[in-house]
């Protein structure tokens, strides 16, 4: 194994700087294993947490009979599904049908690989010492980490899409069509809101991005909140979580794309959905809330980082459940409208505002004036957009066949 391949594939992790030996491989394997186990445990707890929390929000108790506080509820679900009869529908496309659940699960895990879950970023780049080797608390830190996130989240649509298509019946197919349109649309908003972070951090490496946000210097403030809101909304849509869960809208499409799935294959979808929720929350924490950054209050440096990361993660998991408990579901066209007519222009405009701030700083102009001027331009453009949309709607309403009385 040549030392030169290392940096190109595994990025900048100090673990590989001194060459790759057996210890490095073992540590890497350990990190992969730990990340996977951690993620699985987290999924189990997340499902339980979601069910308990949503029950609390509805004056109920929620699962409380499987183990203490019902904490083994997910385990029971998993074991049951594992031992349930499996079926591949006659009209399905067998190969694709079998492939789809894995297509949805693998990207969910891969994204997590670039998330720094701990480490002391206060002044340093977050390296910790594992068995005498310096390394990051993340599986891998490729130089294009953020692009990997985008790539994986755009690949995740395949699982949903192919599952629906391969089932060979109508409801899943409809869900597939919805899924592809929805996920591709929100991919754009997701990417654009990310650019704001990149603009400020100047790096695609997640480790770098976290290191840039040491202590309280979070991107949330640095990018003036809006990109995070856009990202959160777009992420919710990417995850097919309520109120954007049109893909599996039970009331409309029975089970959505997984209508025909049973047993362990269905469990994989279930797993992927929640794993995606967790990884996406982790990504938000990394990008906007400074990852493991926070005041150090323990003697072991990296432990407080882990704790901070966990606390911030919980915040977003809570938010996702809260959204589910509160909001009704969007309709397909409203979802598209929100994505295309609000989120994308907003994130694009915000990017320009941030850029004008930076450029004004570089050129020595008055920053406030530049931002205000840019905001004015944005407002004018927004006005134009609104006018255009209204005109379009009016024409649609006049269209005798388009509208309904």
């Amino acid at each position: 194994m040549s030392a030169v391949v290392g940096p190109s594939v595994f990025g900048l992790d100090p673990l590989y700087i001194g060459g790759v030996g057996l210890a490095e491989v073992l540590i890497t394997l350990l990190k992969v294993g730990a990340a996977f186990a951690l993620l699985l445990m987290a999924v189990m707890l997340m499902i339980w947490f979601e069910r308990k929390l949503i029950s609390d929000m509805q004056n109920r108790i929620g699962p409380n009979l499987a183990g203490p506080f019902g904490i083994f509820q997910t385990l029971a679900d998993g074991i049951k599904l594992f031992f349930k009869e499996d079926l591949i529908p006659e009209r399905s496309d067998r190969l694709v049908f079998k492939l789809a659940p894995f297509l949805s699960l693998v990207p969910a895990f891969l994204v997590f690989a670039v998330v720094p879950v701990g480490g002391d970023f206060d002044g340093s780049d977050g390296r910790v010492s594992l068995f005498g080797h310096e390394t990051f608390l993340q599986v891998s830190d490729p130089p294009v980490g953020i692009l990997l996130v985008l790539a994986m989240s755009s690949v995740a649509v395949y699982g949903v899409m192919l599952a629906g298509w391969s089932s060979g019946s109508k409801y899943p197919l409809l869900a597939s069509v919805r899924a592809s349109a929805q996920m591709v649309s929100y991919e754009a908003a997701l990417g654009l809101s990310l650019v704001a972070v990149l603009l400020k951090s100047g790096s695609l490496s997640t480790n770098q991005i976290v290191a840039e946000q040491s202590m309280w210097n979070w991107n949330l403030w640095v990018t003036w909140v809006v990109p995070m809101v856009v990202f959160l909304i777009a992420a919710t849509a990417e995850l097919n979580r309520p109120p954007f869960d049109l893909v599996e809208a039970e009331q409309e499409l029975v089970g959505g794309f997984h209508t025909e799935y049973s047993s362990i294959r269905f469990a994989l979808f279930f797993l992927a959905e929640f794993m995606n929720t967790i990884t996406m929350s982790a990504i938000i924490v990394t990008l906007f809330l400074g990852g493991p950054n926070g005041p150090d209050f323990t003697t072991v440096g990296w432990l407080s980082g882990l704790l901070w990361f966990f606390v911030k993660l919980m915040l977003f998991l809570f938010a996702f459940v809260w959204l589910r408990a509160t909001l009704p579901r969007f309709r397909y066209d409203q979802l598209m409208d929100l994505g295309w007519k609000l989120l994308i222009p907003l994130s694009l405009g915000w990017l320009l505002v941030l850029a004008s701030y930076d450029i004004a700083g570089d050129r020595g102009w008055n920053r406030a004036a530049a931002v205000i001027a840019m905001l004015a331009v944005m407002a004018a453009l927004a006005g134009l957009l609104a006018l255009a949309l209204r005109a379009a709607r009016q024409r649609r309403e006049l269209d005798p066949q388009g509208g309904f009385a």
Partner: protein, 429 residues
Amino acid sequence: MSASEVVAAAASDEAVRRRDHSAVLRIGEDDGERLEAEAGAGDTRMIMNMGPQHPSTHGVLRLMLEMEGETVMRSKPVIGYLHTGMEKTAENLTYLQGPTNVTRMDYASPLFSELAFSLATEALLGLEPPPRATWIRMLMCELNRISSHLLFQATNGMDIGAVSMMIYGWREREEALRLLETITGLRMNHNYIRPGGVAADLPDGWRDQVLGLMDALPPRLDEFDTLLTGQPIYRERLQGVGVINSAECLALGVTGPILRSTGYAWDLRRDMPYLAYDHVDFDVVVGTYGDCFDRYAIRLNEIRESIGILAQILDQMPPGDYRVQDKKVTPPPRARIDESMEALIHHFKIFTEGFKVPAGEVYAAVESPRGELGCYMVSDGSSVPYRMHIRGPSFVNLQTLPHLMQGGMVADAVAIISSVDPIMGEVDR
């Protein structure tokens, strides 16, 4: 719009009819798959079966939707999956047993069916129930209207995807049901309103409990308002969806909240009063646009009106008999059985063969939470109805579905079914 103008519109508006033909998918129940197979692969229209076992078809309604992409072009409701033969069963049950049968029709508001049945029987008998019975009936009906509309709030929330709203709706409904249970002994299908009065007097402590419910509900309704009415996503989902106008409603025979949502104020309680509704003061809630949101808002506000009516009923509840004191119709009090041979004989006669009702035919109607619930009854002079027919509002209202759905999306279809609030037991009977 005045009534006469509406009539004129209904009479002249041939557009209503034309749209009829285009909105309703006129194919047989089993033809969907055949047509699908015949259509070329490039034909983008497909026929989709929604139901009879589908989460949002409120039980066993089946809809055949002709769709283009996600847009519903034409549709046809297919019913009968819950056909129970209740009208046939009614011909084999005495007038005394009758309420047990009709109460199972509209299981969300069972007392209204019992009331319509009892009013029809009383009309044939030529009896006037005592005032306390009348007021108890009103009390019960308004409580039932509240629980029925709460059920709507729950299912509507569920269909729109607001999971908490569903649970909140059930929670409030449970409170109302417990009150009904205290009074009648059953949560649903009460068999409480009988020809000649009600089965039992109000229990001890009923007034406190009704007051308790009246206190507890309004803040919860305000919660619904915050959660849904004021929620932009929710409004977007419902406003302008499933629009219908008064003329169309009347032409289709639609009654209840759907008719009122078009701005047409027609409520039997006010316009053709029965029981003692002319002695209470309440507003008929109407909408403006005839869309799903109006229908939701009407039901929510009718709960508030019902609470107002309950207050007046509490004030005006008269003392006295709660069943008509006619030996032929009402069994004697327990105390009389031991004293009087005649009473014992009446008791036995009523519980073995029931009471005889003079020959004739009659139609009686009440305003149920879903519209005009009528009972058409023919008697041949025996103690069993010769023919008993219930005009179910859901059954007639269901005909609006194709018109409301045309041009909408699948998600709209779900919202529309929900806003029509059909109870399939009453549709299929």
